[in-house]
């Protein structure tokens, strides 16, 4: 009960801080639009490749990839804020108070989720204006965003864990560069797996980013295969939970070296 209330207070703190940085808000809104335009034009002709089997337009195909990528990007930077708190002594203040460790992580992840909902709304709105169909309507889109949230929480929790263990901006940035682009491109975000080399396709089977893309894309179909969606959502919830545990455990490592 207390942990939930404390998480809410922390979410409020981070969201408020975000809203007070108008430039940052602008960037988080503009970036997904850039992805949408960039990839929409860059890969437009893949629909002409024999074997690209989708009933919808490439724009419809692309939106789940861009939403998942946005969630992944957002989450991967989550640890940077924690490093700020560590350097300012704010984390130590919280740790010397009866605040639950979990709420220190949950608050940050929840703020990322709030940002993601806004970003996803912008992506969806613009894609719709450009002619995307989203055949299953708002429900399908909500499922897409939910899956992306779980993905963002997973990578966000790991980013925070990394921040706690290594306490260096450089490490968090390095891990981002090492993970984000490979995991994004080794998925069906921009290209159907039937058209990519076998080893990438096999890798994608174990790539949570790919689960989020596939679940969201299926959920947006006219007649989704819900068991296909559920399987991937359960997988995403599982890794998110696991990552959350890792992050909470990382506090022990942090305090051992304190």
């Amino acid at each position: 009960m207390t942990a939930i209330a404390q998480s809410l207070y922390m979410t409020q703190r981070h969201t408020r801080a975000l809203l007070r940085q108008p430039w940052f808000v602008a960037i988080t809104l503009v970036q997904p639009m850039v992805w949408l335009f960039l990839f929409g034009n860059l890969f437009r002709s893949v629909t002409d490749i024999p074997g690209f089997t989708t009933s919808a337009s490439y724009l419809d195909y692309l939106v789940p990839g861009v939403v998942a990528m946005t969630a992944f990007f957002g989450g991967s930077w989550s640890g940077m804020g924690l490093i700020d708190d560590i350097e300012r002594g704010i984390l130590d203040r919280f740790l010397a108070s009866p605040t639950h460790r979990s709420s220190l992580i949950v608050g940050r992840l929840a703020q990322d989720a709030v940002s993601l909902v806004i970003q996803a709304a912008v992506i969806g709105g613009i894609a719709w204006l450009l002619g995307a169909k989203f055949e299953s309507g708002p429900i399908g889109y909500a499922v897409l965003v939910a899956g992306a949230m779980l993905l963002g929480a997973t990578i966000g929790a790991l980013s925070n864990a990394l921040a706690l263990v290594l306490r260096q901006r450089e490490s968090v940035i390095g891990a981002n560069q090492f993970l984000v682009l490979p995991l994004t491109f080794m998925s069906a975000a921009f290209m159907p797996l039937a058209l990519v080399p076998d080893w990438i396709a096999s890798f994608a089977t174990f790539n949570p980013l790919n689960w989020a893309v596939e679940a969201g894309r299926e959920a947006l179909m006219a007649a989704p295969d819900w068991s296909y969606v559920a399987l991937r959502m359960i997988g995403l919830a599982g890794v998110a939970l696991l990552a959350g545990l890792v992050a909470t455990r990382a506090f022990r490592t942090y305090q051992r070296s304190a």
């Binding site: 409020q12 007070r20 130590d92 203040r93 740790l95 108070s97 009866p98 305090q255 070296s257 304190a258």
Partner: protein, 328 residues
């Protein structure tokens, strides 16, 4: 060592705390002390002496490798969560959220500790008024001066009316005016609120002014402890300084002074000669007449009670200001 009359159970009790860091670094090498409720206890020493590590152990941020500690009677290792409820902790760095207003900082701190409603809001306004922050309360903390941020920081540590407050070098980096204000407030906290305070500092004056008891920390050990007066009285005698009217002391002045009963260890330094005396006041006439008899002109003679700096020098073999420079 502590010399306590065991009247009440101590507000802080540390026994044999040892803390080692990887690479065979011993930060704390058996720290033991007790703090009487309602008093200010000062840990005095240069950076790296082990003051902050001691605070980290007592505020549950760090687990010691050996030893036990209790705060307000609660075991720090066995029940850290209960300790966190009764302590306020103000760290070395000013830990206010720069993107939140003063009031929001206090609000979050209170809510995290389960406070709410009118009681919390009243407490916030009370603290804002007490630290002269009411007018700035709606402003983002980033815009505060260093002194204002530190006051907000201390106010946050007090929001839940803790029983024991930890202040880790609270006035480092503050200008003299802000420092004086904070000193006045810290004194008021123990006098009016009955709070127990553990204060770490590398300012001798601060320890002398504020602390009821002082422990000198050096290389992870407490090398001396007691009231500032006791520590100073432990040094034999006063310091006497003779300023020559002309010429340089060339060994003769020290030789003359060394023959005066009750004076020892004269040291010449240019026109200045320093020595220690049993009774400063009564030594002055003897010094004057001895030097006069030897034909040595004297510009001034001053006698000073030993300072904590002298105490520090005596127990660690170096002046605190020097130790500070080395580690800074």
């Amino acid at each position: 060592m502590s010399g306590w009359k065991d009247s009440a159970s101590p507000a802080i009790a540390a026994r044999g705390i040892v803390k080692r860091y990887p690479g065979n670094v011993t930060a704390l090498d058996g720290i033991s002390f007790e703090v009487e409720p309602g008093t200010i206890y000062g840990l005095l020493g240069p950076n790296g002496a082990g003051k902050s590590t001691t605070v980290k152990v007592l505020t549950t941020l760090s687990r010691p490798d050996e030893g036990t500690a209790a705060v307000d009677g609660i075991d720090v290792l066995r029940d850290p969560q209960a300790v966190r409820r009764v302590i306020g902790s103000v760290g070395q760095r000013i830990a206010v959220d720069p993107d939140a207003t003063g009031r929001e900082n206090l609000l979050l701190e209170g809510r995290l500790r389960g406070m709410s409603g009118a009681a919390l809001h009243e407490r916030i306004e009370e603290l804002l008024a007490r630290f002269a922050l009411t007018d700035a309360a709606h402003r983002i903390a980033r815009t505060y001066s260093g002194g204002m941020q530190r006051k907000l920081d201390v106010a946050m540590g007090l929001i839940h009316r803790p029983r024991v407050l930890f202040l880790d070098e609270p006035t480092t980096g503050l200008d003299p005016e802000a420092r004086a204000q904070l000193w006045a407030e810290i004194t008021r906290l123990t006098h009016q609120d009955g709070l127990t305070i553990l204060l770490t500092t590398h300012y001798l004056e601060e320890a002398d002014r504020l602390a009821n008891q002082v422990a000198i920390v050096d290389h992870g050990r407490i090398v001396a402890s007691g009231t500032p007066e006791e520590l100073k009285a432990g040094l034999r005698g006063d310091a006497i300084t003779v300023e020559l009217a002309e010429g340089l002391a060339n060994g003769t002045v020290a030789a003359v002074m060394a023959r005066i009963p009750g004076i020892w260890a004269p040291v010449e330094d240019g026109r200045t000669v320093r020595a220690r005396v049993d009774h400063g006041a009564s030594a002055v006439p003897a010094v004057l007449s001895a030097l006069d008899g030897a034909g040595i002109g004297v510009a001034s003679v001053t006698v000073a009670r030993p300072s904590l700096d002298d105490v520090y020098l005596r127990h660690t073999g170096r002046a605190l200001s020097q130790a500070q420079e080395v580690s800074a």
